[in-house]
Every structure is written in structure tokens, then in C-alpha cells.
């Protein structure tokens, strides 16, 4: 039985809320403060909090390192792919208007920004978790007395 019961219970309540808040920051970024970068960092901090409380091995079971590796590159591909998609639709690189050229309320811009922010979220969250995994894996497990 681990001694950190309060930490475990409180963080179990908090971690889903932090992840949910990250998604709110991501998808509400068009209307309020926030966006892909902030959302990615907040999402990564939820995973890091999980790893701090329940151990790195548990966190690696929940979010395997291979996901992190794939997520990092997927984000860049989504962002770059949005630019290539606008090329194929006849516009300049990252000129989102060509997603919906006839729209009167700039729907193409909204779709483009949505896709691009999704890519940023993917890369930032995965890169932050990757850096944490890389550093965390090099330290051996500590007992409370080691501090």
C-alpha cells in the first residue's frame, strides 16, 4: 500500500479534468485565449502528472513511447499536409481560403486553422512527453528517503 493516498485520489480526480481543459483550450482557441501550443503543453502535463504519481512504467503502459514517437511526426505531417492540400486545391501554401472559396463567412479559413492547430497539438504534446520520458527513464526509481 503506497503512502501517498491523498495525492493519488486527488490526482485521479484532477487528471481527467486537466485533459478535458486541454481539449477546451484547443477547440475554444478561435474564440478565447489558447490554441494548439498551450493545449498540447496542458495535455502533456496531465500525462506527466500521471507519471509522477503512479510511476513512469504505468504512464508508459497508458501512453506507449511508440505513440509519442508517431504523434510527434504526425503533427508536423498534419500541418505540412494542410499546406500541400491548399496547393492541390490551386492556392498558395497554407492559403486556407481555397478549402471553401465560395464561403461568405470564411469557412475555409476556419477549417484550415482547425487542421493546423490540431497538428500543433499533436507535435507539442508528444514532444513534451517524449522529453519527459527520455529524462525520466534515465533516473532509477527513488524511495521517499532519497530526497
Amino acid at each position: 500500500m503506497s503512502p501517498h493516498v491523498i495525492l493519488r485520489v486527488v490526482s485521479k480526480l484532477l487528471i481527467p479534468l486537466i485533459a478535458l481543459f486541454a481539449l477546451y483550450v484547443q477547440f475554444h482557441g478561435d474564440f478565447g485565449p489558447g490554441g494548439g501550443f498551450q493545449a498540447g503543453v496542458i495535455f502533456a502535463s496531465a500525462i506527466i502528472l500521471y507519471a509522477l504519481i503512479f510511476g513512469l512504467d504505468e504512464a508508459k503502459r497508458a501512453i506507449p513511447p511508440s505513440w509519442v514517437r508517431i504523434g510527434m511526426s504526425t503533427g508536423v505531417i498534419i500541418y505540412g499536409g494542410t499546406g500541400v492540400a491548399t496547393w492541390l486545391l490551386g492556392g498558395e501554401f497554407l492559403n486556407y481560403t481555397f478549402f471553401a472559396p465560395d464561403s461568405t463567412h470564411a469557412a475555409g479559413q476556419h477549417w484550415g486553422i482547425f487542421a493546423v492547430e490540431l497538428g500543433v497539438l499533436c507535435t507539442v504534446a508528444s514532444a513534451m512527453v517524449a522529453i519527459f520520458y527520455a529524462f525520466g527513464s534515465r533516473t532509477t526509481e527513488l524511495t521517499d528517503e532519497d530526497w
Binding site: 501550443f37 506527466i48 508536423v76 534515465r138
Partner: protein
């Protein structure tokens, strides 16, 4: 006293706390306490950014500065000592000189800074007003920051995303995600070639 705006009192209080934390970081020897105080410093600056109406920056500062970098500094601290060695006074003179000169240069530059909230400062005139005006018709989003970041300055943000990707990639290549980096040995056809540096020993 009654006509002092409350935010000014808040700003001065937060700045004073930042100075106190900065001096304690310099004076302390315990690395654990220093890392924690750096987190406190980031949190205080985040609160200060909110009072300056820079909510986006405050967000990022709180998540990156107070959250993730504190954890990363703790991870780095675990790989080294727990206490910083005291530096002899002669070795501190050079750094004191650099810090003093930089501080004086910064104070000298204050005179050229625009007043806080000045509508005619370079950042608020010219291109900034163009973006704010064009967002209403081009992008039709309430948040101009998102419009500038993701659409008008989409190239920059793409570059930033690639920079973060490169940082993650570099860490993964150097350290590995499971701490196995440096222990892997190339063995084509059962021969150990990783240790041979051209000699046959």
C-alpha cells in the same frame, strides 16, 4: 492614496515578490529548493501577465514554466548532486561585472520604451492595426491572436512546430525514450563492431 489604481498595487506587489524569489534562488544552495522556487517565479510571472491582460502568454508561462520545466529540472537534478558547491568570491567578480553592465544597459534603454498601452507605439501602429482590421473581413474570428498565428503568420507557426519536433527528435535520438541509448551495440554477422575504432585490439 485613493486614486492609485488597484492593478498598479498588484503589479508592484508581484514584481516585489519576483525580486525576493530571484534573490532567494541566488542565495540558496539546495538544488531542490532552487527548482521549486523557479516554479514559483514562473507562476508569479504568469499572474503578472494576467494583470497586464496578456492571458495567452500567462497560460503558456504557467503550463511550460511552472509545470513542465519544473519537472524537467527535477529530472535533471536527480542525475546530479542535491547541493550546489559554493563558488569562491574571486570567480563571482566576472559574472557580477557582466550582470551590472547588462543591468545598466537595460535601465538606459527604459527611456526609449513606449508607455504601457501607448496606442502610437510601434507594436500597436502600422501592421498590427492592419491585421486587426482585416481579421473582421478575411477570417471572421473573434480571437485576432489565433487568426494572426495560424493564418496570417502560418509559415512562422509551421516553423515553430518543426522546431519543437526537432527538439523532441533530438532528445529521442540522443537519450532514447526508454533509457537504453548508448547501450545498443551493432553486431552484423555476429561480430562486435561498435567498439573497434580502426585498431584490431
Amino acid at each position: 492614496m485613493s486614486n492609485v489604481p488597484p492593478t498598479l498595487i498588484l503589479d508592484i506587489g508581484l514584481m516585489a515578490m519576483l525580486v525576493v524569489v530571484a534573490f532567494s534562488v541566488v542565495r540558496l544552495r539546495s538544488l531542490f529548493a532552487i527548482v521549486m522556487l523557479q516554479g514559483v517565479y514562473s507562476l508569479l510571472s504568469a499572474a503578472w501577465f494576467v494583470s497586464l491582460d496578456a492571458v495567452d502568454v500567462a497560460f503558456t508561462e504557467a503550463a511550460v514554466g511552472a509545470g513542465i520545466s519544473t519537472v524537467l529540472m527535477l529530472g535533471a537534478m536527480l542525475l546530479t548532486e542535491r547541493e550546489a558547491k559554493p563558488v569562491p568570491l574571486q570567480k563571482q567578480l566576472g559574472s557580477l561585472f557582466i550582470v551590472t553592465v547588462t543591468g545598466m544597459a537595460l535601465f538606459y534603454a527604459i527611456g526609449d520604451m513606449p508607455a504601457f498601452g501607448d496606442a502610437h507605439s510601434a507594436a500597436n501602429a502600422y501592421l498590427g492595426t492592419d491585421y486587426i482590421a482585416a481579421t473582421k473581413t478575411d477570417i471572421i474570428l473573434p480571437n485576432v491572436v489565433t487568426a494572426v498565428l495560424a493564418s496570417y503568420r502560418g509559415f512562422d507557426t509551421f516553423g515553430e512546430t518543426v522546431v519543437i519536433f526537432m527538439a523532441g527528435l533530438g532528445i529521442v535520438l540522443l537519450l532514447g525514450l526508454n533509457g537504453h541509448a548508448g547501450k545498443w551495440r551493432a553486431q552484423p554477422k555476429g561480430q562486435d563492431v561498435s567498439n573497434s575504432r580502426g585498431d584490431k585490439s
